[in-house]
Subunit: 446 residues, 2 copies
């Protein structure tokens, strides 16, 4: 066997036994949670880390804001943290470019470990930043970037590695899951529930990144990298949000024994002979069979299934956002750094992370909903178009309203390739008997 | 603050960059799985570990047994592994004393890291063995000892540490969970299903350790230690198995919206003022509300809930036994050792692990089943005894058979202290209208 590219061991990694000196950039919900936890659990954490954890500098956008904790004097310039005497910089500013990126790069250049919750930054620039860290034997840790308090980053990097990973599937955005759960419970429509979620603080004033699937995409790119040893890749990913899901779809799903969830799925695909083709990454609403683990993830919670080859499927769930769960993830990264934990950022040396080879996975069964005029021949026309594309129907529900008004026709197909179904729907959509673009949702196997 | 007992950093930990040399003691299901995985996934694992993982010696009880893999020559004496040139000894012999204990002790004395799946050994001697390992800056890792492929040991030791742990609750024995699931699905009795499980290889010829709760107790002792920073403690633990559970109990549970699961529960208890009292450790069948995560753990799977203070509840499930899941845990420990991961065995320096202070948790609601003669006055008598003990009833089902035959009376109590309920049942059992010892199962809050 060829000589392996050996990366440095922990013996090369500079470390003292004094307190771990921490600088924190950003005092929002998560930053405040980290500060409070490091204070209130000081002695317990020191016992677990083998060293004290000491905050030496903090920056915040608004240094005059009233806070329910004290941190001494606040710096207004986050970049100053990168030249402080801290051992670790905790980046909680967010955003894939700008000051957050500059801070992480400068901190690494200056020989400081970095802990970040910034999924957007790592999804875009993860490979390069990991190379920078590893070149200097520094840690760049990001447990808080995906699924809040659920230790899914550590699990994929360190635990479920023996048999490889076939697929990772997750409910990774609490806002979307809250909205879909509320729609189901209350029977109300998307727009109405979104408005309420905004009022309650569960959704942002501009909810695009959440409901459009972008936030899930960032997180999925990181999980996919950890699972498959590829560089994080946002480009080779189909992303679809939840804003077109109606209360009617959720009701029909329930009748068929399913629930609709926004899933991020990254899956190894194979040809007919079992040879690996590449990775299929997608974010989209999916029908998940009731009583399976992901179907039972309710409200703002997160959940992840890892199919770990022969070792079987594992499921992890819990709070995926908010002050305490996210601070929990940041603090566990800090303790790992204090302990001197060592290992490459994405589980394999960053320089060796391969480019992702995109490969769509094969057929799936589909839920289709057609919003049609209640006129003769409409069902025949839809059935004909599906038949033309070789898509066959497993079950169907037609539900009428008042005569002459619009009617929903819902079908579950047998396994069919996505492009065949899309072709059929395009033909159907051209009909003057059809009132709106047909809705198409994959049935996710358990 | 007083100076902390600083334990060594990874700089004190001897490590080379060559292959990690591994000796394996025991070639049963798990040992075979480890050998096969290290061979078939050799390059992938080397990329993750940063070094090759190389088996240098293996011992097995029967060196002539036909196996579906080759490992070179086999040693018959496991103790020889402790003086081999291995860096790590993997102990897969089992048993809390005898050769397994001797091997682990000698390996540590000889400066070798140890990976083990031996829950009995660590539950009994964990603190002493951890002290031996830490005195020599060695790793003693045991992810495979609890819940097979689920990384719950790593999670408690490294991830869910920021806010402390209030409780750990687990379905930790696949044999019991398989039997209870089969009883529910088929309506058959315990003895019948156990016999079938033995025929299928899901239960041992002597199933005492599984169905009596002893195996769950070993695992719970380890989780409790990791969660609360106490030395593993098997003595301060109430343990009850599942052999008294009847198909009727499972049927009644279902009518009330519950499922019966054998749970290991370790919980921090508090007095009325919120001051910590101690740890309540118990293994016993419990009523778990349907649709909660633990209720949905079916068949031979395992599942664990961790209540992590303000960070909320987290749930982990997957295959808890068998070749691939357990090998997965062993191999992930080996990769961590190869990477130079560093940290104390039970999350805190072993010398500082406190003795567990036992403290029963307060009241709970109870399921009670009385097997009575269908004669006048029996219900009045039971109700009277419960009332005497100040136990009040929330709901009741009485189901008659033919007149004069025996009848089951089932009650769910309001929250009541265990000793009060036990007192009442003892009084009821003394009645000549009662045919058998009443059955008493706690209702576990979600």
């Amino acid at each position: 066997m060829a000589r392996l590219p050996i990366w440095p061991t922990q013996n090369d990694f500079p470390m003292t036994k004094g307190a771990l000196k921490i600088a924190i950039a950003g005092l929002g919900t998560v930053g405040g949670g980290v500060v409070k936890t490091l204070a209130s659990r000081h002695d317990a954490l020191a016992a677990q880390a083998g060293r004290k954890l000491e905050i030496v500098a903090v920056s915040a956008r608004d240094s005059n804001k009233k806070r329910d904790f004290s941190v001494g004097s606040l710096l207004s310039d986050p970049l100053a943290l990168a030249s402080s005497d801290a051992d670790v910089v905790v980046e909680l500013i967010g955003g894939e470019e700008g000051i957050a990126r500059k801070l992480v790069e400068t901190a690494l250049q200056n020989g400081k470990h970095v802990v970040t919750a910034n999924k957007a930054l790592l999804a875009r620039h993860g490979k390069r930043l990991a190379e920078m860290a590893e070149a200097k034997n520094l840690q760049l840790k990001f447990e808080a970037a995906v699924a809040g308090g659920i230790p899914i980053v550590t699990t994929l990097r360190e635990a479920l590695i023996a048999h490889g990973v076939d697929a990772v599937k997750g409910i990774l955005n609490g806002t979307c899951n809250y909205i879909l759960t509320e729609m189901e419970v209350s029977g109300r429509g998307f727009a109405d529930v979104l408005k309420e979620a905004q009022a309650k603080g569960y959704a942002e004033a501009d909810p695009t990144l959440d409901i459009g699937g972008g936030d899930t995409a960032h997180k999925l790119a990181l999980l996919s990298s950890l699972a498959f040893g590829t560089a994080p890749d946002l480009l080779n990913m189909r992303v679809e949000g939840i804003s077109h899901i109606t209360a009617e779809d959720i009701g029909f799903a329930s009748e068929f024994g399913f629930r609709i969830k926004l899933l991020g799925v990254a899956r190894q695909t194979y040809d007919e002979n079992g040879a690996a083709l590449g990775i299929d990454q997608r974010v989209r609403p999916a029908m998940v069979r009731a009583r399976t683990p992901l179907a039972n993830v309710d409200g703002a919670a997160n959940g992840v299934v890892v199919d770990a080859g022969e070792a079987g499927s594992f499921f992890f769930s819990g709070r995926g956002a908010g002050e305490a769960p996210t601070a929990s993830a940041v603090v566990s990264d800090l303790v790992e750094i204090a302990r001197g934990s060592f290992g490459p950022v994405f589980g394999r040396p960053a320089a060796g992370l391969k480019n992702l080879v995109p490969a769509e996975s094969g057929a799936s069964a589909w839920y289709l909903r057609f919003d049609v005029l209640d006129v003769p021949g409409v069902l025949a026309e839809i059935a004909g178009r599906l038949s033309d594309a070789n898509v066959s129907i497993e079950s169907m529900i037609q539900r009428g309203r008042a005569p002459g008004e619009h009617v929903s026709i819902v079908m579950i197909t047998h396994e069919s390739p996505q492009d065949a179904v899309e072709r059929a729907l395009k033909a159907v959509a051209a009909s003057d008997k059809v009132r709106a673009r047909p809705c198409m949702i994959p049935m996710e196997a358990a």
